[in-house]
Amino acid sequence: MPRAHATLISRERVTEGHYLLTLDCAEVAQNARPGQFVHLRVGDGTDPLLRRPLSIMLSQPDRREVQILVRTVGRGTGIVATHDEGTRYDLLGPLGSGWSIPQGDEPVLLVAGGIGVAPLIFLADSTRMADPQPYVRAIFGGLTTESLVCWTEFAARCDEFIAVTEDGSTGETGLVTDVLAPELDRDPPVRVYACGPDGMLAAVARICAEAGVPCEVSMEQWMGCGVGACLGCAIPSSAGGYVRVCTEGPVFDATQIDWERLMSR
C-alpha cells in the first residue's frame, strides 16, 4: 500500500531557502523508483490542509532512508523548514510514474533547472549501481550559484557536468537551453531527462524535438488527492484534453504534453 510513516532524522540548510530532509522511512526507501514523489502531510491540523507533493531526491533501501530537497515558497514548505529532528510525517507514496531507466552503457543527458535537480539526482544515482554503467552527462542551470542547490551531490553522480548561471557567477553564463543545443549537436545522447520550470521544459522539449532526441520531462501542477481521483492536477495533453500529473506523470514523454496550451497562461 503506497502509504507510509516517516521520521525526520536530519534537516540541513543547503542554501538560502533550501533544506535537505533525511527521513527514516523503510516503505518508501524500499519501493521508490527515480522520478516518483511523496505526498506529505505537513501537520495534523486543517491549515495547511492538503498534502504537499515532493520529489524523492535519494533513496537508500539498506539504511531505510529517503532524502527530500525542499525549497521554501509558501506556508507548507515554510513550516517543514522549521521541523525538528524526530518530527513524524504521514505520507502517501511512492506515487506517480518514474523516469525510464537508461539501458546498458548508452549515453544520456540530464537537464536540471534549480530545485528540478531533485528527481534527477535520484536518476543519476541509480545509474551508478548499474553494470554496464550508462554514461551520464548533466547540465545544471540556475539564476545564481546559490540556485545550483546540491550541485556537488549531482555532479558526483555524473560522468560529465556543466553548470550554467544567468549571472555568470558559476560555470557558463546564460540558460541551460543555450548550452543544450550545442551539446546535442556535439554528441547526441540516446535520451534527455529534464526537470525544472515549465518555460525551461517547453524549450528543452522543442530543442530535443528539433534534434530528434527523445526527451522525458518531470512536470509540476497543484494537487488535490495525488492518487488520480480529483482531476485537479491536469495539464494539457498533445492528444487533446488533459493528463494527470499525479498518476500519468509526473514524468512524461515530452511529446505527450501540449506545450503551446500549457504555456498560454
Partner: protein
C-alpha cells in the same frame, strides 16, 4: 443490535445503507483510485464523479488551490461520458459491493432526462442530480438558483427513471429552503447538500486569479458551519431524507450534520487529506453511539436540541 453493537444502518429514498457514510461526488473518482487505501466494502455508498451525456474535457489548469482550511476547485466536470462510464467504470464500481449513486450533470433539461434514462440500469442504485451547473437554454444560468428550473429539471429526471432521485442543492442561493421545496414538490426522493460555495483567490505577485477558470468552488472545513446551518434549515422545510456534506473531517463533524437533520453524510475534501477518513468516521460513529447509549444511529437524525 444493542448499545455494544449499535445499528449504523440508515434508509435513504428506499436505499438501505449499512452506515450513513458515503463519498462526495468528484472527490473519490470512481472508487478504484482509493481501493488501495481503504476497504470500500465498508462504506455506506459510493457517489461517482459527475457523469455527462458526452465526454467533457474539463477546465484549463490550474484547477485547484488551497485556501485557509479549505480549497477551491474548478475541475469543469471532466469525465469520459455516459457510454464509457457504463462500459468501463460501472462494472469496477459494482465489484465493491456497496450501493452506487451516479452523480449526473447536463446542459439542458432534455440532456439530464436522456442521461437519467441511460443510467437506469442494473448496477446503478440511485441518481444524484447536480443542479449547480449552467443551463444553456437560460443564458447559462445555474439550474439550482431558480425554483422553476429546479422543479422542471427534477420532474423530467423523475419521469425518465425508476431509480431514487436525489437532488443536490447549491448553497449559492438566497434561501435554500425555497429551492429544496421546489425539488420536493417536483418529486425528488431525497436531497443532498451542500455543493461547493462559489469563491475566488488571486495571486497578488502576478496579479491574476490562481485558477485557470478564474472562479471555483470552495470546500473543506472552512464551509462546514454553512453546511450545518443549511442542513438544519432544509430539514425543517421539507419531509425528505437529507444527505449532508461540507467539510466533514471526522466523526464529530459527521454527527453535527446528522444532529442538524442529515440521514446520511458524504465526505469529500477530507479524502485528499487522509484517504482512510471514511473508515475512521464509521468507527467513530459506533464509538459515539456506545458512549451515548444510542442503539441505532437513525435516532440521532435531527436530534439537535432547540
Amino acid at each position: 443490535m444493542s448499545v455494544a453493537h449499535p445499528d449504523l444502518s440508515v434508509e435513504i429514498a428506499g436505499l438501505s445503507l449499512q452506515n450513513p457514510i458515503m463519498s462526495a461526488s468528484g472527490t473519490f473518482g470512481y472508487g478504484t483510485e482509493y481501493a488501495e487505501y481503504l476497504d470500500l466494502s465498508k462504506l455506506g455508498a459510493i457517489v461517482t464523479k459527475a457523469v455527462t451525456l458526452e465526454p467533457r474535457e474539463g477546465n484549463p489548469p490550474p484547477r485547484v488551490r488551497e485556501t485557509p482550511a479549505g480549497m477551491l476547485n474548478a475541475i469543469g466536470l471532466q469525465n469520459p461520458g455516459a457510454e464509457v462510464f457504463i462500459r468501463e467504470k460501472l462494472p469496477e464500481l459494482r465489484a465493491f459491493g456497496v450501493p452506487v449513486i451516479a452523480n449526473i450533470s447536463g446542459r439542458s433539461v432534455d440532456e439530464f432526462a436522456r442521461l437519467a434514462e441511460m443510467l437506469s440500469i442494473e448496477g446503478v442504485d440511485a441518481l444524484e442530480v447536480n443542479i449547480s451547473c449552467p443551463n444553456v437554454e437560460h443564458e447559462g444560468m445555474t439550474f439550482g438558483v431558480d425554483c422553476e428550473m429546479t422543479g422542471r429539471l427534477t420532474e423530467a429526471v423523475c419521469a425518465a427513471t425508476d431509480l431514487p432521485v436525489i437532488v443536490k442543492l447549491s448553497p449559492n442561493v438566497t434561501d435554500i429552503t425555497v429551492i429544496a421545496r421546489a425539488a420536493e414538490e417536483a418529486g425528488a426522493d431525497a436531497l443532498s447538500l451542500i455543493n461547493t460555495l462559489l469563491g475566488m483567490s488571486i495571486d497578488v505577485e502576478r496579479r491574476r486569479p490562481h485558477l485557470g477558470n478564474v472562479t471555483g468552488g470552495l470546500s473543506g472545513p472552512a464551509v462546514r458551519p454553512v453546511a450545518v446551518r443549511m442542513v438544519y434549515e432544509v430539514s425543517r422545510a421539507v419531509d425528505l431524507p437529507l444527505i449532508g456534506m461540507g467539510g466533514v473531517m471526522c466523526a464529530s463533524d459527521a454527527l453535527e450534520l446528522i444532529l442538524a437533520g442529515a440521514t446520511a453524510v458524504a465526505v469529500g475534501t477530507a479524502n485528499f487529506v487522509e484517504p482512510a477518513t471514511m473508515e475512521a468516521i464509521i468507527r467513530g460513529l459506533a464509538d459515539y453511539c456506545r458512549r451515548h447509549q444510542v442503539v441505532a444511529i437513525a435516532e440521532l437524525v435531527g436530534a439537535v436540541a432547540r
